[in-house]
Symmetry: C3
Subunit: 439 residues, 3 copies
């Protein structure tokens, strides 16, 4: 049964012409939901209810249109409704999505795990269609490769599947655009220590206005990052996903796009000024990260990391090298490198994303203040590692407990206001007396 | 005045028969609110207003029905409206509550503080009815016993009183079920570093759908953990409150309960597959915790903890023993044990609860990544503690600053791309020249 | 054109007399918005829309009334609409605001950066009107002075401008009181690691009732801290912004104010009892902070901080002194001082503010438990710093690896249940055999 036969004319009234064209052009087999519904009303009533309320139900896009009809494969979770299924009709959205960061994921694939010992075959499904060598994802990250199959699914893929699954944002059976347009739907992935964009937006003035002000005056995630319904979520972004500045030409073009979006509420001069201030925050923060990176590089050069890369399990992509870039690990590493992981991956990200999202608490407290404390911690640990192999001159033991040392400490305490002058005189007398001297 | 006299028939229309039966059977003295209201409308207008809007007001369950009429005791906060008061009418809820984890608290009581020196007598009220030895709570936790009376009330009991107080979830004077059915009411206790279930739900797809989708399609805390209004909040839980797997028989029964709940939206096959993936995450995470636990046990065995349990205030329940289980403390302990506290109590909990609540950011970033970094930190601290008593071979001081060492470090820097070949040649030449050699 | 001419009588109906009086008395030039709107409807449609919906638009307070008409200065961001502009009409709010902590900021200014080398001239604008020496702000904090111009604007001033800008809470172009009365508007500043009041309120029972209960029964930030619309946000506060108790006289007066506010819902006896419990939490927490402070003071007195204040960049206000008070820095400091920064500035604040906001998770887990773990960490680091100059007696190397030591460790493992008796016998036998002894 073809589209034109399946629907009485009256049901099609009011449908946008491009949807009509889509059905007609593709000659989609409109498999009625009649076969599935009798059982699934009992077995999965919630899913059926969501579908019944959906635009798909109104135009008779039924269960099998998306899921196919191989019940055994569906049961085993192998008949994934990926973006090719949706893209057959939703062509413009598909194109924009695939050209954006959501569609490109993070990297081109070059780190297949097939040769790593002891790996679960299921991990192939991170990147490949089941049973074939065809890539479905281009996600590439050393952390990802280190993960077990279960963590890879629950922890990594639940977000990174956005590359392949429209349901990540649109939910599985409903089509209500309220869902996809709610900042909450972005939160599931864009939250947490590595990039709390949702938290930043929610408590920024933009978020506040969005929640409290007359409808429409406050911007959501989608207002700025998916302007006019575009699926190109990278519009206006001048930094790479690692927080580095884009090269000048794309940077200038992307900035112009963002300023154009700001103009809905702000003047050009104001928007540029604010964004340039955020640029400065990015540059200053990057300098702190580079300072820490140089300290760790120097320790490596002198063989002082503990353990050194050669003394621990090899990096899945880079072996025995020191890895401090986007493929840095948080496991099988040294304490100082793990401090650097927090600094770069969490606190650097919070500082700069906090600035661009106009959130002072994230920019300063969660971001900049932590960055600077990270640097203090990294310097202290570097000093410890250096002294581990070359201890500082021990204070001459007798002198340190002697009368001179005790008097000197007492004087320092007096100078910083830690003791009253009277108590100072009393304790000083006691020290002298204890030493056999007349106070 | 008895129930049947107090209410005109017309007021009783529409009341469920079991409420009628409850009043009649118990012959509850319906003390009119008339005595209290004239004053309390002035003194506590908010409380009166909440009561006036409540179902209790409609059926003339007045102030004294719950609070009694001993004004002096009420003023002193001694006339607690505990679950026995509510349970007199709400029998089914009381039974389910008491049979669930909410009702059992965490432990059977065996650690009375009466013999600990310097303890405030008020601390008896953590567990006992005032002025009697009757237990009101079975909460048992060493952290709890270490607390001051004030912190015990504000920090511990505000949540753990759920065992004894229906108002924990239902609020004090209102009866609006919107309150008790709002996930927010769960948040006050089920949040924070030790078990952020509310945060996990809120930003999961379940939470998102609950907020954005047409009413009724997204599950709340109550949908899955209090199905059909049950007060047995333990339904479907396959782990102990410490995150260990239940024995096989109850585990199988509890899992079947939860899958039944998932079926409202998902297929059996999907629900089982997802929950089994979460099981795997639990097992893998527990293995990391056990690895850290073994490291600390070994340090203890060799007398290397700093301070050792024998050198610090005794554990309130276990004295000088090494305590790394559910009664582990976060005070009067060593640095490495406190790192383990964070690992087990916070990050292990976040990983596994994040998985079961389908929240990728909690499972991975807040959970698994922190777990693995904790292990890095614990290994580094263990190494420091071992070397503290047995320093590593110090590098021969002259060699370390000599020309050979500096050239070796320079070569490592070149190899990791930390210096350009040109700069390498320049710096190498400078080293050689500085050493009196022709470069 | 003056007010009386600009508005037809009909438009003025229903305006409160004091607004009428305000316009009349000040003879505000009602510059029509006509000059600006034709362009700005194109250039900044959102701002125009917000204004059109505002009370200002209804009474013809147009663009130039607040922004002036010097277009060049406006473009450069120099024509700030500060509280003097708003205060011309809103006199009562201005007075209350300036007398409160919002108006006084944190300190009287005494640390001008003009003489610090390498500082950006823009930093003068933190405190002074552009181009003049007139102070616009009295904010004073060493962290603030260490910041770059960009971070100062994005990170510090975005909040601390509350002293000078009504728009911080009221937004820029709208006047909808829903915005200023929404707790979210407080969140932008009152959130994060240093004072998460918004998070505390949101998940407390007060916040829960506010979200779920019949409108009006749950208190918001404004209910308790801006009672009856007052702009004196300090009402009822008994602690300084650093968490110290106010002197007795103002403390008693402030407490009475707060109890009065609680009476809307609670009894006097209950409110006092709860607040006194919170007082106890503050005292106990302060004692922990003082314990840590004394440890660090002692290390300083003995020259053991690493680095010592004399070995690092000078504090912008206090030079080479040890600074552990409100002007303590989180950069250019030692690891142990940075641990203390977290303890005092973050965890102490969370504990006491958590208690006063009735949030058990913040009081205990985010607050008290962290405070106590901070103390563990600080003691461990202090021990390390002491031993750095005076290593602990190294265990006699042969003994530690000898049979006696291995047997002793094995026995400890048995005693703590880390090994079964059977495995103990087996391993013990192996040790003895390995040593050439008959087991």
């Amino acid at each position: 049964m073809r589209f034109s036969e399946a629907l009485p004319r009256s049901l099609l009234r009011g449908l946008p012409p491009f949807i009509m064209a889509c059905f007609a052009a593709l000659a989609i087999p409109v498999v009625g939901a009649e076969d599935c519904l009798p059982c699934h009303r009992q077995k999965t009533p919630g899913a059926v209810r969501q579908w019944e309320l959906s635009a798909h139900a109104r135009v008779k896009v039924g269960c099998a249109t998306c899921h196919g009809s191989d019940h055994a494969r569906i049961e085993k979770g192998e008949a994934r409704v990926d973006l090719k299924v949706c893209g057959a009709c939703h062509k413009r959205a598909l194109g924009e999505h695939q050209a954006s960061r959501h569609g490109m994921a993070l990297h081109t694939g070059w780190g297949c795990v097939r040769n790593l010992p002891g790996r679960n075959a299921k991990e192939c499904q991170f990147c490949h269609e089941d049973g074939t060598g065809l890539p479905t994802s281009t996600v590439q990250c050393a952390r990802f490769l280190k993960q077990s199959a279960a963590m890879g699914q629950v922890g990594c893929n639940a977000c990174h599947q956005v590359e392949a699954s429209c349901a990540t944002c649109h939910s599985n059976h409903g089509t209500d655009l309220k869902i996809a347009r709610d900042p909450n739907v972005c939160a599931t992935c864009h939250m947490g220590p590595d990039h709390p964009q949702w938290e930043m937006w929610q408590t920024s003035r933009h978020g506040t206005l969005s929640t409290s002000a007359p409808s429409g005056t406050g911007p959501t995630c989608q207002t700025c990052h998916m302007p006019r319904g575009s699926h190109d979520v990278s519009a206006g972004l001048t930094l790479t996903s690692g927080g580095e500045r884009l090269p000048d030409a794309p940077r200038t073009a992307r900035r112009a796009e963002m300023v154009q979006i700001c103009l809905a509420c702000h003047s050009t001069a104001f928007a540029k000024r604010e964004l340039e201030r955020d640029d400065a925050v990015q540059q200053e923060s990057m300098a702190l990260v580079k300072e820490a990176e140089a300290i760790i590089g120097d320790l490596f050069d002198h063989g002082l990391l503990d353990p050194m890369p050669g003394e621990r399990p090899p990096h899945p992509l880079r072996g025995r090298a020191l890895v401090l870039d986007a493929q840095m690990l948080y496991e099988d590493t040294s304490h100082i490198e793990r401090l650097f992981f927090k600094m770069k991956k969490y606190d650097f990200a919070k500082t700069i994303k906090g600035a661009f999202h106009q959130n002072p608490a994230y920019t300063h407290w969660y971001g900049n203040a932590e960055l600077k404390m990270d640097l203090v911690d990294i310097k202290a640990e570097a000093q410890r590692l250096r002294e581990r192999k070359r201890p500082p001159q021990a204070a001459a033991a007798p002198a340190a407990e002697g009368i001179e040392a005790r008097l000197r400490a007492l004087k320092a305490k007096l100078d910083r206001g830690g003791i009253t002058p009277e108590a100072y005189r009393r304790e000083k007398a006691a020290v002298l007396e204890g030493g056999g001297f007349q106070p």
